[in-house]
Structure formats: structure tokens, C-alpha cells
């Protein structure tokens, strides 16, 4: 399944169409596409990743933010938690010192959403354990031509520039993936501040032609293993949804890709034709 979205002029807001004209200079634009698939033999209803892209910032300083979360399979109502996280963190800028209080507020929203139903004993018991998800948030400062990222857990960002892996974040080696990644919990209040997982950060400039590949852990582990074997996974990875499903099945069957929910969110920095053709501004 694939969804496409163009962004980059800074006037759009979460969930709103982006105006076709703007007075803001457009040094570049970002085009997004998403591919996703549930675990093999699972239905779409059982898919527990979530992603969102939203425009923000101001007309003078437009930003675009993408968020990708992977609801932990061992949690109950993990899909709802992943959706709440990406909905919030794609549309409200990250602010140091506020992360966990905002997550606590989202945890309350999650409990309101899932806790009002009449549930069997096991769902009630599991509800008390809360839900967990890894989270990756990437923001592009369109005018400043810089990106920044924050992550909890093993949902990854790879930046490919001029046919080379330019950046791997927050996991740098395939051996770092395991069964117990750091996760964002719904029940933040029950975790002592010094036991909360670290929020990793990275930032850099971007250039026209850069490919940003955001992916959940199973695909990210395959990606890094392929790089470590000396190959270029960004060339192998199908971008066509018709080719993605059979490719994924083949990788899973051969054991080279773990059977897990998979989400690939790709952002490509494209030079706009009108910008490319425009005369250089007067000094």
C-alpha cells in the first residue's frame, strides 16, 4: 500500500491541503511516499505501526515533520498508542524538557480511548500494563535546509546521498537490534524519571537529491545487514507498491527479513522546476 504527499511550502497544517501558491521562496521541496505491510498471515487490522506527516512552522520558517512509531507486539492496544504518538509529534514541535509530560498527556488520551469499553478480565489486566511503542520524529527546516531527528527505540532514519549511506540513526549496526528496544510507555507516571528511555538526537544539513528513509525495525535491520555486506539496499528496496508486497514476502520466506509489521516512509528532496529555472535573485 502506498500513499503520496507533496510538501515543503510551509503553509500547510496537519491534515490540511497545502496551498498551491505561496510567496515564500521554495529552495526545495520534499515529496513523501509510504509503503507498509502487516506481518505475514496478519490482517490490515492487526498492523501496529503508524506514521504521519505534517507541515508546520511559520511562513518565514516552514518546517515539515514526519513521525513513525512501532507499537510493541507484546502490548495491548498498541496500534492506538502508535497512532496517538505520531499524530501528536508530527504536528507539535519537539521541545526539550517537555517530552515526557506530553507523553503522559497522550497516555491519558490513550486510556480514555481504550479504557471505556467493557473488557474481559485479560484485557483489563493487560490494560493496566499500558502500551509501548518506539518513536522516530524527523523535522525538515525547509528554508534553512537542515533536518533534525529524535528517536526512542529502534525505528530508524537512513539518509542516502549520492548513492552512499550518509547517516544512520539511531541504530548504526544491525547487531544492535534486539527483542528489548527502548520504548515510549503510556504509563509514564509509573516510571521513575531516571528510568525513562533516552531520547536520541541528530541533526545535519540536507541537499537536493537526498533520500530520507524512515523505517521500522525489521526492515531497518535488513537494510543495515545489507549495507554491512557491501551492497546498496536503497537500490534493492522496491518503491513500487506492486513490487513491494512480493519482494517482502520473498525476503521473509528466505529468513533475511524478520516477520514483523513493516513501514517505509521515504522523503526525497527535489529541486522544484520553477526554482531551477528562476533567475538568480538580485544582489
Amino acid at each position: 500500500m502506498r500513499d503520496e504527499k507533496e510538501s515543503g511550502d510551509g503553509n500547510g497544517r496537519a491534515g490540511q491541503p497545502i496551498p498551491s501558491s505561496s510567496l515564500i521562496p521554495r529552495p526545495s521541496s520534499l515529496s513523501f511516499s509510504v509503503l507498509h505491510a502487516p506481518k505475514e498471515e496478519h490482517s490490515e487490522d492487526e498492523y501496529e505501526d503508524a506514521c504521519a506527516v505534517a507541515d508546520g512552522g511559520t511562513p518565514d520558517a516552514p518546517v515539515v515533520t514526519a513521525a513513525l512509531a512501532d507499537g510493541a507486539s507484546s502490548s495491548v492496544f498498541a496500534r492506538q498508542w502508535a497512532r496517538l504518538l505520531v499524530g501528536h509529534f508530527s504536528s507539535v514541535p519537539f521541545a526539550d524538557g517537555e517530552t515526557w509530560s506530553r507523553v503522559a498527556g497522550l497516555g491519558q488520551a490513550w486510556r480514555r480511548e481504550v479504557g471505556t469499553k467493557k473488557l474481559a478480565w485479560y484485557a483489563q489486566e493487560k490494560l493496566a500494563q499500558g502500551a509501548h511503542a518506539s518513536l522516530l520524529v524527523v523535522t525538515w527546516d525547509v528554508a534553512g535546509r537542515r533536518w533534525s531527528a529524535r528517536a526512542v527505540g529502534d525505528t530508524c532514519l537512513f539518509v542516502v546521498r549520492q548513492d552512499r549511506l550518509h547517516h544512520a540513526f539511531p541504530v548504526g549496526r544491525s547487531t544492535e537490534f534486539g527483542n528489548r528496544p527502548d520504548l515510549v510507555p503510556t504509563e509514564v507516571e509509573r516510571v521513575a524519571p531516571d528510568r525513562l528511555p533516552p531520547v536520541h538526537e541528530a541533526a545535519d544539513a540536507f541537499e537536493d537529491g537526498d533520500r530520507f528513509l524512515l523505517m521500522t525495525d525489521a526492515l531497518a535491520a535488513w537494510f543495515l545487514r545489507t549495507v554491512e555486506a557491501g551492497a546498496r539496499p536503497w537500490e534493492t528496496l522496491p518503491v513500487d507498491p506492486a513490487a513491494f508486497a512480493p519482494w517482502l514476502r520473498a525476503q521473509r520466506e528466505s529468513g533475511s527479513l524478520h516477520n514483523d509489521d513493516v513501514t517505509l516512509l521515504e522523503a526525497v528532496v527535489r529541486e522544484r522546476p520553477e526554482q531551477a529555472a528562476a533567475p538568480a535573485p538580485a544582489a
Binding site: 496478519h42 474481559a120 509509573r190
Partner: protein, 278 residues
């Protein structure tokens, strides 16, 4: 590599519990004189079944990653399930979830996230009732398990192999069960042989032993025999036990002697933490 099959609904795994319900289980328990051995075992089994259900609970559904069998042996070998599940051999975990005999309210101490403990009311479903009478036909119970898991493995040849978990105070009255145990451990799926774990519940107050890698320090010949009958832990379970703080080696066996209730539940929990659930 054995013991690595992914567990999903088309390739579930199975747990088969053999519970000693003989008269001697009515005796006080060495590690907690206020409790009878049969009470401690019933609590541990019920808590474990609850843990297995919760592990498979996704929202309002319970996914059938596991099938569970329970037999009791005291005087004779009989189904451990009662009520709607009476007489069933392997029951999908979703049916176990929906058919406890009753759901009690109990308090449980839990980590408060800051190094302390808080008490929380929990729902405590009961499937398995306390019973303690008659002789100890352990050999027959193991032979029954053999027949059941052999048939199960033929149905699910690609699955992670079943674990058979025997909880007893150790002294069979129907002869040496060693040969039956050896035959049981020969059964398996393409992913590995059946895992046979033993928990020795004793009236003695001797020091508990969990996941030993030799017979050294075991209290008596019955404990030694149960150790000998137990499977060597697969590497993943060695890792899980190590993470929980147990001193284990690659020769450690799925055997516990006189574990207190907390360690007993932990042992059962580790024994049932198989490959990743998908």
C-alpha cells in the same frame, strides 16, 4: 537451528502440565509452612495460565499462539481442567481465557518504578482446583503426556516444540519414570525435541535450586532423578534465565528444587518464554 521457530496462529506451540495431586501434596511446604504444597502448586499454575493468556491478549482478542493441556495425577491420571474445559487434552489459549472456573480478586505487590513496591488489586482467574489424595502415578502421567504431545507434533510439524512441565513432590508409586521420560524427550517437531521440565516441591527446608547444571547439592535420589529426566535448556531460555538473575550455564537443565512461590512462578514463566510471538 532448533528452538527458533516463530510462533504464530498457524504454527502455535503447546504447554502440557503434569500436576502431582497425590496425598502427600497435602503436607506443609518446606519453603512456607503456612501453605500446603498443593495450594502453592495450584496458585502457581493458575497464575501461569493467566500470564500465558495475557501474553496472547491483543486488545479484546486473545490470539491462539499457544495450546494448553493440564493433567493431574493423584490415585489416577485425569484431566486437570474442570467446567467447560473438562476432559479436553489441548485447549487453544483463547478458550482457556474465556473459561476460568471463576475470577477472584487478589492483591499483588508490584514494582512502583522507583525501586519500591505497591499493592494492586488484580483479577485472579482460577482454572485449576486444589486436590490431594491417593498414590503418585507419575510414570503413567508421563506416558499420557507422551501420547498427547506425539499426536500434537504430528498435527504441527513446523511448530516450536511443546514443553511438558511436571510439578511433583517427587516419589512415584508406579515405578521408575526415567524410561518414560526418555521416550517423551524423543518426540518432537522439525524445530526440536519436546522440552521436559521438572519442579520438585519438597517438605524439606533445604536450600532451593533452580536450573542446575549438575546433580551436586540436590537433596535426595528423587530430586536427582527428576534432574536427570529434565531437558537441557535451549540457548534462548538460558539467556532469559540469566536476564532474570539466575546463575545458569549452557548445561543448565529445566529443573527446580524447592523453589519458593516467586521462584516457582518465575521458573514456569521462563520455561514458557519460547520464541517470539508473531
Amino acid at each position: 537451528m532448533p528452538y527458533t521457530a516463530e510462533i504464530n496462529r498457524s504454527k502455535p506451540t503447546a504447554f502440557f502440565f503434569l500436576i502431582d495431586q497425590s496425598g502427600s501434596m497435602d503436607d506443609p511446604w518446606g519453603m512456607d509452612g503456612t501453605k500446603r504444597k498443593c495450594d502453592a502448586v495450584a496458585d502457581a499454575i493458575n497464575r501461569l495460565l493467566s500470564t500465558l493468556v495475557i501474553r496472547c491478549a491483543k486488545g479484546e482478542d486473545v490470539r491462539d499462539y499457544f495450546q494448553v493441556g493440564v493433567i493431574g495425577y493423584g490415585g489416577s491420571v485425569k484431566s486437570g481442567f474442570k467446567g467447560a474445559l473438562a476432559g479436553r487434552q489441548f485447549v487453544p489459549i483463547s478458550e482457556v481465557a474465556d473459561n476460568p472456573l471463576r475470577v477472584e480478586q487478589r492483591t499483588r505487590k508490584e514494582d512502583d518504578g522507583a525501586g519500591g513496591l505497591v499493592e494492586r488489586m488484580v483479577r485472579f482467574p482460577v482454572w485449576f482446583e486444589v486436590d490431594a489424595s491417593g498414590s503418585t502415578p507419575m510414570r503413567e502421567a508421563i506416558e499420557t503426556a507422551h501420547g498427547a504431545v506425539k499426536a500434537w507434533c504430528e498435527l504441527y510439524p513446523l511448530s516450536y516444540p511443546p514443553a511438558v512441565i511436571n510439578i511433583s513432590d517427587g516419589e512415584p508409586t508406579d515405578g521408575d519414570p526415567s524410561r518414560a521420560a526418555a521416550a517423551l524427550k524423543e518426540v518432537g517437531t522439525n524445530d526440536g525435541k519436546v522440552l521436559f521440565f521438572n519442579i520438585h516441591i519438597s517438605s524439606s527446608s533445604k536450600r532451593p535450586v533452580e536450573f542446575p547444571d549438575s546433580q551436586m547439592g540436590l537433596a535426595d535420589e528423587f530430586a536427582q532423578r527428576l534432574f536427570e529426566m529434565s531437558s537441557v535448556l535451549p540457548p534462548r531460555l538460558v539467556d532469559e534465565a540469566r536476564k532474570e538473575g539466575f546463575a545458569v550455564s549452557e548445561k543448565s537443565r529445566g529443573f527446580a528444587f524447592n523453589a519458593d512461590l516467586r521462584a516457582l512462578v518465575q521458573f514456569l514463566d521462563i520455561g514458557t518464554r519460547t520464541a517470539e510471538l508473531r
